[in-house]
Structure formats: structure tokens, C-alpha cells
Assembly symmetry: D2
């Protein structure tokens, strides 16, 4: 951290800042320059709110070191994290597919989808039993009944289940049914929920908040890991910008810096990113080329009659073709798709 004093700061003001730094149990390093003084700070900075220094008289600016996360940090743990399941492993070297409908609608469609996925080498299925909807008047998901259907699908086909947890009330039920607990974009900073899944044994798929910086996202992962659950999988799904040609702005460029700062695997959800089915395959291929460790894709036996998000959902034929193209592209990148 660096405190930059104003060119007109008085010696008294500088002394006051030095004292304030020491009062925080930190060490100040004053550096007098030609026009102004700067003050470096060392010590355990994570525990203090640096903005307090910014408002002291004579301070012009405060420059913060922006990496307060620890457990999620590659500096602390250089080796890549691999998240292991009965069905597969998520991590570098593999492009892991998680595909399926937006929401559980009927047992028939879930079973049909699970069978189709297993036949095509996809080992994890997504489907929401609890659905976060912008309007209280929209379909809110089948709830506990939906979880039962998902369990049946796993029992019959062996497929792994990825499903969203929206609140602590349903935490036990979702933990019992799911192989991966999904935390949605709107809950990325629902800290009570993050603490709850931090105590679970099941891996957590943590979607990026639609207005979260990379640092805030890794801090959300830190909440889960601080609770003892180290199996966190990041998932980029588009951020909010002024740009209006797509539902969200899929930020593929977050993958390389996320990989640099953190050892956690990172997946991409192009379905929510672009919001229109015809544009999903191109962004799925781009995510693979950008270095993603996996993809979340919305697939439905009959997307035109899906209960939610049909417009961004692929049918079986389109998904099968995408899988082929992904496998072809994965080869020169030294990856396998499963």
C-alpha cells in the first residue's frame, strides 16, 4: 500500500499520517520526492480498512494492493486444484461438460436428457429445482420434488447432478441430492449462503456476480474455503455492461488472469452469457480456446417449449454437433472433452 501526500502537505500532516499507520500496527516507509512525499506501508494490511487513511488531511491518494484473498490465491498454493467426483475430474487438461435444461420440468424429460448425455460422454447434468426468477409471477421451479427427480436420474444413469442452492433453508436437501452445489450470479455475495456451503463436503460451482470484479469473485470463493470446503469451481457467465447485443457481456478475458491469481478451476456458461441459442456454439469454442476448464450448456429435448430460458437453449442435435466441434478443437489445444 502507498499513501501519496499532496504537494502542499505540511510536515505536521505527514507526521499525522505516519502516526496513524503505526496505530494500525503497520510500518510506514516515508519516501520524500521532488514535489511530494509518498509513504509505503508494510505489515499485515489485510485486517485494516485503508480508506481511513485516504481522508486524513494532506493525503492526495491511496494506492491499495488488491489481493486480500489467501486460500484461493496461487501465491499461497501454486499447484492447480483438481475437483474429483465419482464421474469425472474438473481441472486443467480436460474440458468438462455440464449440460442440461434450465429447470427440472418432468421426470420424463430429465431421464431422457440424462440418458442422452451419458450416451454422448457427458458425465454431469445441470437442472434447476429452485429457480431465481426476476418476476415473482414466473415459474419458480419444482422445488423438493425436482430434487427427487434428479436423484432418480442419477440412480438410473449414473450421471452426476449439478443444481442450484438459493437459500440456507434448503441447504440440507440440496446437499443431499446434488454432486455439485451451484451458487448463482445473484447470490455470489450472499455471504450467509457462502458460509453455509463452506461447511459442506460437496464441491461448489460459484458463478461470477454480474457486476463482480475478479477480486470480489475470488473473495467470495475465499468465504467458502475459509469454512473448510476447498472444492470451489469458478464459473464465468457474463457481466453487465452498456452493450446490448447480447443478454450479458461474456468476459472470456477473465480466464487467463483468474488462472494466474488463483489455482481454482474455471468454467464458462455461454448460454447465459449470450442469451441466444444461435450464438452459443461460437462462444463455447472460444471459451475452450481461451483456456476454460469446462462448459455449462443449456440443453433441452424441446427448447421451444421449455419452461424457462428456451431462447438460449440448444436441442439435442445442436448440442451433439457442438460436442463434435469441441472435440475436434480440443485436440490441437492438448485437451480432452468429457
Amino acid at each position: 500500500m502507498l499513501v501519496v501526500m499532496s504537494t502542499q502537505a505540511t510536515p505536521d500532516e505527514i507526521d499525522h499520517v505516519l502516526a496513524a499507520i503505526r496505530a494500525m500496527n503497520l510500518t510506514p516507509h516515508p519516501m520524500p520526492g521532488a514535489t511530494r512525499t509518498a509513504i509505503g506501508i508494510t505489515g499485515n494490511i489485510g485486517a485494516v480498512d485503508p480508506r481511513t487513511l485516504e481522508v486524513l488531511p494532506g493525503v492526495s491518494e491511496l494506492l491499495r494492493v488488491t489481493k486480500p484473498f489467501k486460500l484461493a490465491s496461487r501465491e499461497m498454493r501454486p499447484a492447480d486444484t483438481y475437483v474429483k467426483f465419482a464421474q469425472t475430474t474438473i481441472g486443467p487438461g480436460t474440458l468438462t461438460m455440464i449440460a442440461g435444461p434450465c429447470s427440472v420440468e418432468t421426470e420424463t424429460m430429465i431421464l431422457r436428457t440424462a440418458e442422452f448425455m451419458m450416451e454422448n460422454g457427458v458425465r454431469l447434468m445441470r437442472a434447476g429445482a429452485f429457480k431465481p426468477r426476476t418476476s415473482p409471477y414466473s415459474f419458480q421451479g419444482m422445488g423438493l420434488e425436482g430434487l427427487k427427480i434428479l436423484e432418480k436420474a442419477r440412480q438410473k444413469t449414473g450421471i452426476g447432478i449439478v443444481t442450484e442452492l438459493m437459500d440456507t433453508d434448503n441447504a440440507d436437501a440440496v446437499e443431499a441430492s446434488a454432486d455439485i452445489i451451484q451458487i448463482g450470479t445473484r447470490n455470489m455475495q450472499n455471504f450467509s449462503l457462502l458460509k453455509r456451503v463452506g461447511k459442506m463436503r460437496k464441491p461448489v460451482l460459484l458463478k461470477r456476480g454480474m457486476s463482480a470484479t475478479l477480486e470480489e469473485w475470488l473473495m467470495a470463493a475465499e468465504y467458502v474455503m475459509a469454512g473448510g470446503n476447498y472444492n470451489v469451481i469458478l464459473c464465468e457467465r457474463g457481466i453487465r455492461s452498456f452493450s446490448d447485443h447480447s443478454r450479458n457481456t461474456l468476459d472470456l478475458s477473465v480466464i487467463p488472469p483468474a488462472k494466474k491469481l488463483s489455482h481454482l478451476p474455471i468454467m464458462v456458461d455461454p448460454s447465459h452469457g449470450v442469451g441466444k441459442r444461435e450464438f452459443v456454439p461460437a462462444m463455447a469454442l472460444a471459451a475452450l480456446a481461451a483456456g476454460a476448464d469446462g462448459l455449462l450448456i443449456e440443453v433441452h429435448p424441446d427448447p421451444d417449449h421449455a419452461a424457462s430460458d428456451g431462447a438460449q437453449t440448444l436441442d439435442f442435435a445442436a448440442f451433439k454437433k457442438l460436442l463434435e466441434n469441441l472435440r475436434r478443437l480440443a485436440e490441437p489445444l492438448g485437451k480432452t472433452v468429457n
Copy 2:
């Protein structure tokens, strides 16, 4: 809603869209033009996902009517909502102040603040017992003990208590202690929490999500109201943009359209909006002039040693001066401050 067909759409494609609209129990109104056909749609559109039409062959664009909220809408209820308490009433004609520290730290400082507020004509005090913090290693609030302190302050001084609810687990405790339940920006689309406060009898202060459109914000209010709790107070607290001179971008221009679309009162939190105490008073005055029905201001007896958010917190003297300036400015605007 309007479906705009491509200039190259075939008659068959147009017929297919007309059929799809009818299958949704809506009425299509085809309008042939010189270069292309457009299709108007009437009926109960709220229940369908219009994006489904957008992906049909021959469709160029879909134009949506963007007001699916009902109970929050001024069209449904033209008269302004006034939220009434023992201490005061929030609504047009009054600038209601809610002031106090970011978090409950000790009984002494809470009592001192409550007494100072009552002496200065402020009838509602804010203070967090549960604190949403970006880092799991930051002070998370005093929890239930903090609620007890707030109750004591009300008992001794008569001040009304505004405090944040972060999860359903603490819903009963917060409901019992608070006069207004605050829902924070990160929980604006925590739908489980919204449904829970929808069943409460206490008024809800609903902060705007930092990347929420006005429509999404009013839909969040609709969640609360759909549960039976009509006493919702909106609170603008800054949105996320590229602009980096302030902590957030305080969107005062949302006040007039919010007032036009909805009958709910709207407050402004300039402390979180700008993030630096020296800039708070100017934006507080601007919010009053823009038509706000109230202000949330962070005030602390000793901001430099506050446990959280000290950099954006006023001390008693600065707040007293702001109050005077607000009262002077309120007069020509035909408002009273309390």
C-alpha cells in the same frame, strides 16, 4: 410487444410466428409494411417468455414492453404510498433522515448516537448488527447482541431502528428488533429473502442492486409486495460503472422515473454512493433537490476509529451542519426535514 420480421421472411415463416403467438394464448396483429411485416401482440403477456419468439426463423427482432410489475406500479395504484411509524411518516412532502453508524460497535456509542439524533430532530437511526463484508476476514458485526443494544437505544430514547437482514435464519430476530428491515444491495435479488420479508409486518427498505435496472428493482419490490407487505421504501445507493472517482456512481436521475413508474417512496444513501465523507454533503443536498423522500447518512461519534466504513462517515459536527443546510434548502422546495 412487437415482433419485427426480417425483410426476407417468407409467408410460411410469418404464419409460423402467428401460430406460435396464438399457442401462447395471445392475439397477433400482423402489420404488413413496404419492406417487412411487423406483428403486434396483445393479451396477458406477463406470463410468457418472449425470447422464445425471438429465435423463430424469419424473426429479425423482438420489442418488449418492459413493465411486468403490478403492485409496485403507479398505473395500478396512482396515489403515493406513505409508510407510517410511531416516530414519523416516510413519503412525499417530507425529507426523512435515517442516520447512524455503519455497524453497532458498543452500547455506549449507540446510545450516544441515538440521543444525539433525537436532540437534533432525527427520528430513525441506522446501524448494522449483521454486516455483509467483501472479505471473510473483516468484522462481520455483533449479531444478536447488536440487536439487543439497538432495542435498548429505542427503549431509552424512543428512536426508530433501521437494521439490515442478511438471511432467513435471522429473520425472526431482526423482525422483532427493527422498525424498518433493510435489504442490502447484494441481496436485492435474493428472492428467498424477499419472499420472507414479504410476509412480515414491518416496512422494508429495499436498496437498489448495484447493477440493477429500474425495472429489476421494482420487480424486487414486487416480490415483497406479492407476499402481502406493501410498505416498501426504495433506496438508491449508487450503481457500478467504469467511473472510478467515487466508490459507486450515485444515480440521482433514477428518482424522477421511479416516481413516475411507481407510487413507492424513494430514499438516497449518498454515503455509500460516493464513499468519501467530504463529498457526502453535496450529494445529500443534490438528492433533496432531485426529489428524494429521505436520506440514509452514515454518522459516527468518532469516524476515524469506526469498525467499518469510517472513510465515508460524518462526525456529529459535520452531520449537524448538513442538517442545517438541508433544512434551509428544503424550504424553497416545499419540504420539511425530520
Copy 3:
């Protein structure tokens, strides 16, 4: 500036960074900490591209001091700048109005508007002869003929003329006709144009780019001032964000930090900020309360038939009422309106 080394940086890597800093003729100040080393830098940093250091091996992060502007800076020149004309002076203590139609349409309407303004105490009129339009098929302004009409209006009424310059080709003509040269939002970083107006004697009204940070805006002012023209007036007109309830997001919160960092006067254009006439007055009042030194308002004798931007334009009656309200509000703020 501060270079933060990785926790795993080797002594060799640290030495390499120290050498690179010295090679830039800057002074490095190494600060060893418990887990990592940081290196402060002093010297004339403005001339170097700090990003070069960021890519050296072992460097974790680079923290930059972000105020490379000089002439526009309050640190260099503490006293407020007042821009003086025959008609009035722009600067603290006064709310200066600049009002008039989006574009020059006919001599009659310009004369009528100029007379109305002078009768109501407004001494500066805006009107575009050259219009930046998103579509090449929209009305592009009357050009040189429009400038002649504006000159006539000044001759007859004495009003000062504010009009936009879009390119160096018309620089001489616009300089000859205008009292204030307006640089539009899309040209805020048209550096060739900024250099050209830097050589003029007429004051420059510099609109903020719709995606410009405060620093970039002040650097654009610096371009003009570096050419010798110190009479720069800043003008906030709304930034681009995800928020869709208004045409742009009017960033009133930029006023206090702009005033702190720079001695230049700052005006606000609520007409372009909100884009709908019914919402303009509230934001004009808010801008005054936030500390603006003046307002740009679009006014037209018959807005429903204006050639451009009619939807955000006030008619004479609405503007007159706004003027009254501004005058009433200016009093307790210790300002006069003219």
C-alpha cells in the same frame, strides 16, 4: 508509484526491477516486508509508461499515482478559474445558464429564442450549426449558414453564442462566430481538435466523454491548456452505463471531486443527461445543489417540431418556471443565477 513483488520473487528478480527503475531515471525505494517486497518509486514519473514494469518477472502488481495532469490541477494552481466574457463570468458563486435549441433551424426561431433569453436574464445561448448525428441520414445542421444566423442574433440582442466545433476544417469559422467553443462528448479525445482549440483565444466548453474517467477528462483539458488556452469550462452530460431508464447516467457526483482536483469551472447538461424533458428540471435543481457552476439546457419555441432532440427540450414556459425555481433554490446556497 509502487511495485509489489510476488511472494515468490527471487532476489535476482527484485534486482532486475530495481535496475529497470533506475534505467528510467527514477529512484527505487525497496521495502522488504514479512511475506513480500514492495518497491516505492520517486522522480519524474509522468514521462514513463509504468505498464512496462508490470510485465517484468516476479512483479505481482503495479500501483500507479493517477494524476498526470498539471495545468488543470488544483495542486499547481490552487485558486478557482473564472472565465470572463463581455456578457458574464463563469465560476464559483454564480450559476450561469446556457440555454437554447439543439440546432439552428431558422433565423426566426433563433432570434425569438435569443430575445426570450435576454428578457429572462440569460446571457448565453446554445445552438448547433454543425451537428454530430449517429446516422448519416439524419439532419446534419445548417453549417456556415447557421453560424451567420447566430452572429445576427448576437448583433441584435447582445447575447453570447455557444456552438459546437466538430473538426479542424471549420475551426476558423466557428472561432470567428462563437463566444464559447463547444467540444462534444464524442470528440473529448479527438486530440487533433483539442490541440487546435488550444491555440484559440475563445473559451472552450469541454463536454465529458461518455466513457471518460475524471482523470481522462482533465487530461483532455490539459491538451487544450498545454496549447496556451487556459479558459476551459468542464461540462458533465451523462456517462454510459448499463442503466436504461435514462438516455445516459448523469454523474452529478463527479462535481465535488472535479472541484477538488481542478480549479476549472464545471457545468452540467441535464438535457442530454436524462433525455426526457419531464425529468430535466429535477436534475437541473440537483446539479445546482451539487455545486455546479452553470447549466446547459435545451430550450425551443416549439419542441414537438424541433429538428433534433425535441424529446429532451423544454418549451419557453417550462424553462421560465425552471429559472424561477433555480433562483429560489440558489439563494440558500449563496449563489446567484444569470
Copy 4:
């Protein structure tokens, strides 16, 4: 276009809107619904400002068809545009590389770069003689002398030259020297400049404005094409968002909708997109997979000592490796790299 009336609109207000539409020479199609009336509009809508209707009494909302561009539109010209040079052709099926330093620094380095590019099969070199810099105190480019150096490089090696035009003053000189005229992100809505290059015979590389929507970008292309120059190449280079892990937010997801709406080729500049050299290759590969027709890459013989943008610039070895990886990835995508 669709006008949505308020639920409380009177028959008189509806009639007034119908009349206003007819006064614009458009045809209104009233559609009475259960709770409100909507009015469809057909006719030549491009010429009118629809916001005028939005402010009429009783109007609740206006839904616009958002494609006013014609020459750039695929609806008007379904076949892909291929831009042809002596050296190569830009368009679908090929990934065309444009590589070279940020700015012309010396003849030696330009010649060395040109030779390196030709040896490695790259037929187009980028290098700026005129540089748009945020600060007036930064290196502004070598100007006309730089153009001479670029011409020499072409003469000696046969390489095609891509260089930026910043203003109409240097239009003749740049047109004479360049094979492709680059319009930078800050000038995307410099309409005077767009009109000037519209009259040129050389192809134009039009970078996306950093806060431009896809529609505004295509309207900027329309300005060039309306002047008679149909050889426009779009170039995505990152947009401005809140996200701070990269210099800009590279919006690869714009490629598929741009291809759908327009027949123009689209390239990607990952160097400016991400701003750090280590992250450039991943995004170059991703751009290829997303469907880009070409790439702009900053390459310098000695990036650590480049006069500008060294931090995002590859050295020869890194670029050669990237080329190999691009060629390997292009094969399964059915593309060739040149």
C-alpha cells in the same frame, strides 16, 4: 415501432398520438387490448426521431426497431464482403494477421519487423505514425516522417501498411502511404473524419468505440459507406466496463451478432483488449474460435524498450509461437492463416 399507451390514456390522447404519427407520414395501426392500447407504426421510420412520440400525453413507452443502417446491413446485401489487396484478401475463410509495433520509432526497427513478418507469412503490418495519447506530454508519433519510413518498408519487402488517421488535416498524406486506413476507437464517432475516409479508395479498418453499441458501430460504418467507400473492416478492441482485471473488456461475443446483422468482415485486437502481453495469445486463439476474420497484434523487436504500449506487445519469438498455435487451431475450424 410500437407505441404503448398508458392504461389510463383517454380516447383523446390516443387520437392525438394517431394524428402525430400520420403527421410524420407514417401509418398507425391501433391495437386495443384488455388493459391498454398499443399502436404499431409502419412506413419509412428511419427519417424521424421517435423520441418525439414518447413525450406525448398518455404514452407509456415507445419500442423502437433498432436497425437504421442500410448499406452495412446483411438484409440489404446478404453476401459476405471480401476486402481485396495486392497482398491478401480479408473475409470469411481466412484469418488475416495484421501485426507490428504500436508506433513507428526508427527505420531500422520497422524494416526488421517488416522482414520478419514477410518471412513468417504475415502480409500486413501495423504501425502508427500519428498516435492518439491520453496525455499531451507523451510521445505523439513521428508524423509524416513515420509515413515515409512505412513506405520504404513496403517498397523493400512488399508488405502492406496499416496505419492510423487521426484528423482530416493529414488525410491526403495517410491515404497516399497506407494500404488500410485505421480509424481508432476514440474517433469512431468523429463524423467529419468518417465522411472524409468515405471519399477515399483505400479500405478502412474501423475500430469499435470503447463505449459503442453494435448498432452505433454499424452506423459509423454506414457513414463511411454512404460516402462511397464500401471496403470497411470492423475491429473489436475491447469495451469499457467496471471490470478491472484487464485494460478493456474484450467483447468477443459481438462477433456472431455482427456477422448476422452485417456482411462486413470483423477483426479482433486482443493486444488493446487485454493490455498485458502474457494474456494476449489466449485471447487471440479465442477470437479465432469465435469466428474472427483476422487479428491485430502488437509485436516489437524489443518490447521492453518500445516507445508506447510495450506492456501489451509480444516479441518476435512469442509472436512466432502464437502464429504456430493459430495455424494449428485454424485447421479444425476450416480456416487458413495468412
